[in-house]
């Protein structure tokens, strides 16, 4: 009797789709041995909206607002990737002024995305204060987006061929003020978190993913860089004028959660560096290339990828010469990164699972599309 009662076999625990720490509707089925996790299986698809099917039914310009809604936290990046892909398909290129403005807005969006990541990740681990401070900074970035294109979250900021709206008068001043104050704010977050023994203990040694596994799973973004592989699409295959700016690619060696935190904080600083360089030298000129209003790209297919805040975001567009794309495939970084969850949680405790899901930085809108 007593032995069957104390039978320690595997327990299956459901971390269901409604959970405050799963960053969206993600269901994780955990197999536990006591408190230790021996396996995790993710069930996704709760936010599947069929974006790729919609892409086959809209013209190229009309599909751009839908693209913002995949990784809704960094809508500007998604728009940049899509516009670059279609521009490659038709053989056009945005003028230099548009490219500089695109870089500034995309890097601002990277800062906003990492701020949201930091706030929610700290909140999951239990540090409630950084959430308020990061949301305060994010508010400034969203105000700049609102002043530029009229919406804070689903910005639809870029058009195929360049920009629709001219940069408004106070743009330079507002961006410069933001950048000048922001360096001090990152120091403040680091003061709160980096030396804090609770933070360090919760994050070091948790969720280790070494470089070889990263390459096997196809993991990209800050997760890959924290494992030691120095690779950033902005440096490897520059787009939109990134080769004109001078910035570092932060990497660390261990590949645990603390290193990913470190890499993202350093990335925010590098983004500010890029923005300050770009804002000094915005060239004058037109903001839109000369492309026909009715876009009919020649038949063919292209794959273009950018460095989104979450990883390598790629667009594979097949055109058959008609008004609508034949196939739009989005290579979502969060989907591919989430596959590595099973590997990362083996041997961790349940509380660490929450930290690991937060550190991969997934947005379910992108995982499910």
């Amino acid at each position: 009797m007593a032995t069957t009662f104390l039978d320690s076999s595997e327990l299956v625990l459901n971390m269901g789709p409604q959970h405050p720490s799963t960053h969206g509707v993600l269901r994780v089925i955990l197999k536990l041995d006591g408190e230790k996790v021996i396996g995790a299986e993710c069930v996704i698809g709760y936010l599947h909206r069929g974006v790729e099917k919609i892409g086959e039914n809209r013209t190229y310009q009309l599909f751009a607002p839908y693209v913002d809604r995949m990784d809704y936290v960094s809508a500007v990046s998604n728009g940049l990737g899509y516009c670059l892909a279609v521009e490659k398909l038709i053989g056009a290129e945005a003028p230099p002024r548009a490219q500089a403005a695109r870089v500034i807005l995309t890097e601002l969006n990277r800062v906003a995305s990492h701020l949201l990541w930091l706030g929610t990740h700290a909140l999951d681990i239990g540090a409630i204060t950084p959430l308020f401070y990061t949301m305060r900074e994010r508010e400034e970035v969203l105000k700049i987006f609102e002043n530029y294109c009229g919406a804070r979250l689903t910005t639809h900021a870029f058009r195929i061929g360049g920009l629709q709206y001219e940069l408004y008068d106070e743009f330079e001043e507002q961006v410069k003020t933001f950048c000048d104050e922001f360096a001090g704010k990152i120091d403040e977050y680091e003061e709160l978190l980096t030396g804090n023994r609770i933070w360090v203990d919760r994050l070091t040694g948790v969720g280790i993913l070494n470089a070889e596994d990263c390459k096997q799973y196809g993991v990209t973004g800050p997760v890959l860089r924290a494992s030691g592989v120095v690779w950033d699409v902005r440096k490897a295959q520059p787009y939109s004028g990134y080769d004109r700016y001078d910035f570092d690619v932060p990497t660390r060696r261990n590949g645990d959660t603390f290193d990913r935190y470190f890499v993202r904080m350093a990335e925010m600083r590098q983004s500010v560096r890029i923005i300050l360089q770009a804002i000094q030298q915005i060239p004058d000129g037109p903001i839109m290339a000369r492309i026909p209003k009715v876009l009919k790209p020649p038949p063919g297919e292209v794959y273009v990828s950018i460095e989104a805040p979450k990883g390598e975001l790629g667009y594979f567009i097949v055109s058959d010469g008609s008004l609508r794309p034949y196939r739009v495939r989005v290579r979502p970084p969060s989907f591919v990164n989430l596959q590595a969850l099973n590997k990362m949680v083996k041997g961790a405790l349940i509380a660490d699972v929450v930290a690991i899901i937060g550190t991969i930085d997934i947005v379910l809108g992108e995982v499910d599309r």
Partner: protein
């Protein structure tokens, strides 16, 4: 822009080693691709990964061409860290055919192949866990096929599980 043929030491080594790589090696808009038969794919990708250092599977997807005899075209995009190059491999698969899985070569192909099965109905032989990933497990139909309407849904599943007449 037109599709231009591409030849390099890599293409020669591939043609020597895999005598049944169908189709030519081509370039379009600066991006290189070639077509291969589906049976040799695991061996081809293994060779590219170990000997040619294309060790990153960027994407695995499919395109539906219903008017062709071999309806689906599988697309594998590989990247090499050392050479900083991308390569696209396409493979034509008929509707009832089951191409071999590449999860033995790249572990990251697991979910990508499940998504191709979910959206197109392409079953991969040898896959450890071949079931739907984004749609519910009992869903009938494969949405990204060209004969699936844009507002079409699996009405039986909707009626049974959601209790409403139709999702529209």
């Amino acid at each position: 822009m037109a599709v231009t043929p591409w030849s390099s030491p890599l293409t020669e080594r591939l043609s020597d080693r895999f005598t049944y790589v169908a189709g030519e090696f081509s370039t379009y808009a600066g991006q290189r691709f070639f077509t291969a038969t589906s049976a040799i794919l695991p061996a081809l990708l293994e060779y590219l990964k170990t000997d040619e250092s294309f060790d990153f599977l960027v994407d695995l997807t499919a395109v539906d061409y219903p008017q062709r005899a071999q309806r689906f075209e599988l697309v594998y995009i590989l990247y090499s860290y050392r050479l900083n190059e991308r390569l696209r491999i396409k493979s034509n698969v008929a509707e009832t055919e089951k191409p071999p899985t590449v999860t033995g070569v790249f572990a990251g192909a697991n979910w990508l192949e499940r998504e191709a099965f979910d959206m197109f109905g392409i079953e991969f032989a040898g896959h450890p866990d071949m079931r739907r990933i984004l749609l519910p497990d009992e869903w009938q139909g494969h949405p990204l096929r060209k004969d699936y309407g844009i507002t079409q849904m699996d009405n039986d599943w909707v009626r049974e599980n959601l209790g409403i007449d139709s999702g529209q």
